[in-house]
Amino acid sequence: MSNATLTGSRGAAAALLARLKPIVWFFVTIALTFLGLLAITFVIGRVVPIDPVLAVVGDRAPKEVYDAARLKMGLDDPLIVQFARYVGDVVQGNLGKAVMTSNPVVQDLARVFPATLEMATLGIIIGVVIGVPLGVCAAARQGSVIDQIIRVIGLAGYAIPAFWLGLVGLVLFYAQLQWVGGPGRIDIFLDGLVTPHTGLLLVDSLIDGDMDSFKSAFAHIILPSTILGFFALAYIARMTRSFMLEQLGQEFITTARVKGAPEWVVIWRHAFRPIRVQLITVIGLSYAGLLEGSVMIETVFSWPGIGNYLTNALLNADMNAVLGATLVIGAVFICINKLSDALYLLLDPRARA
């Protein structure tokens, strides 16, 4: 009897372990990926032809001063020690000082990040709201006009440079038609008037009930977000279409049709439901892609976000700022990727088996 309970509890423990293992493994992978990202930025920081010691002591420093500074900066230590120190610094939120602004890089990044977040989020909303229904319609009527449109949009998403589309958009919708605001986040005479609660101008101006600022911010954000969203749309619509086609070819769809279910029920209730989980991964991936794409768009629209910050840092050869921004964008990118993986595993019972 007691023997049986013993094996029973051991079995339960083993079962628990078996269930925990993928979760533990999942976090280990994330940790390793972050370590890999840190290793890459560390290596990039090492290969820079600019001597960090010279930057501190100046060109004409005597040999002794140079050597002392080098020792003090820990550059004589073995690489692995330097890397460990670097990781320690990053974990404590110390990314060094930006030469451009003479602020700590972390502080700069916290200031510029909301602008990017706002633009990318609006972009992904545009991409999902238009892209998903478009993809579903294209799959429902293969070969129709919508299907052809999706094809063209998909190709355009691959072949058109985002920065060029941004410039063309500025010429057309800002200079010629004057439908939207120009570069920047808000009209210049409203700049700095919105109290920062979240850093997202659209949200902040709504909290204060400041409709003038809201309208101005919206006029400025809509064009860059739409262009960014276009690339998400192209990808999301294409993927939705191919997922839907896969479902529509299956037997349960035929069954539903034979039972006499109306076509919209067949499409939205029977075919669309199973692909929602797959779509989450696709949307997650394109959201992460938008953060990356924002580097180009922000440069075109003088958008004061992390992409603009990164480009300025690049042009000024401000390595602390470059690596800090790379690290933050990379980390957010990895997080979104892994999060959509995790959601997929949680929501789709088939993937867990």
Partner: protein, 300 residues
Amino acid sequence: MSSTRDWLLDETPATRLQAQLGQGYRTLRALLRNPLTVVGLVIIIALLLTAAFAPWIAPYNPIEGQLTARLLPPSAEHWMGTDELGRDIFSRVIYGARITLFIVLLVAVISAPLGLVIGAISGYFGGAVDRIMMGITDIFLSMPRLILALAFVAALGPGIENAVIAIAITAWPVYARLARAETLTVRKAEFIAAVRMQGASHGRIILRHILPLCMSSTIVRVTLDMAGIILTAAGLGFLGLGAQPPLPEWGAMISRGRAFILDQWWVATMPGFAIVIVSLGFCLFGDGLRDVLDPRQRSK
């Protein structure tokens, strides 16, 4: 003529050459059946010819302009107008084809073999080798490629060669994954066991017997990636990190045209059309190539 075709389509080729030529001929015919693929092929051939014969096609010098003819709108003499130094934009776009081709080919030549070898070794040996190499590959795959390329160029310094290196460093993991997957399917095949028993070394098996089988899917993938490579290279040029002035690189040209975008729109927009057309060409041709060479990938 028809006898040549019969020879190529012969069901029982007499020599290896005949069999290979026949295979190529059949692939070509299958490719030409799809009109969009033909469009893509025409664009790529046009790019090659433009790059090869640029001095004969371009009506003006791409580097030296006439300061009396600055910022002229498109006209019969200057098809795409002139830029702020009086250089003919059409001539610059023509010469830019050389730079684009140079970047694209070099990236493909560096990253595809690198990825292939890493993937094949990883798949062939399996075990710890596989786990470590694919771990590294996965880390690279889960990073944002453009940002990584930017950071590498920042470290190496701006310039066309460094841009190529940076793009190649971020491009190889895709090919490694691909080659590993292909290798896994043939690793246990009997012909591999047979050559091993004949005493072939691991290197020989990988190079002569496994890699050739990965070629067709890799060629498809590389062609499809070309558009992305062109866009990334143009993006680096646009940010001032790629080809440096006065080189007529398309992205850099767009970047210079930005200053006059509201009044002289043609300076920035014209090179963009070249980028779009060439990328589109590689996309269309890649799609057709995939349908013919690698039908399994079609659904993706």
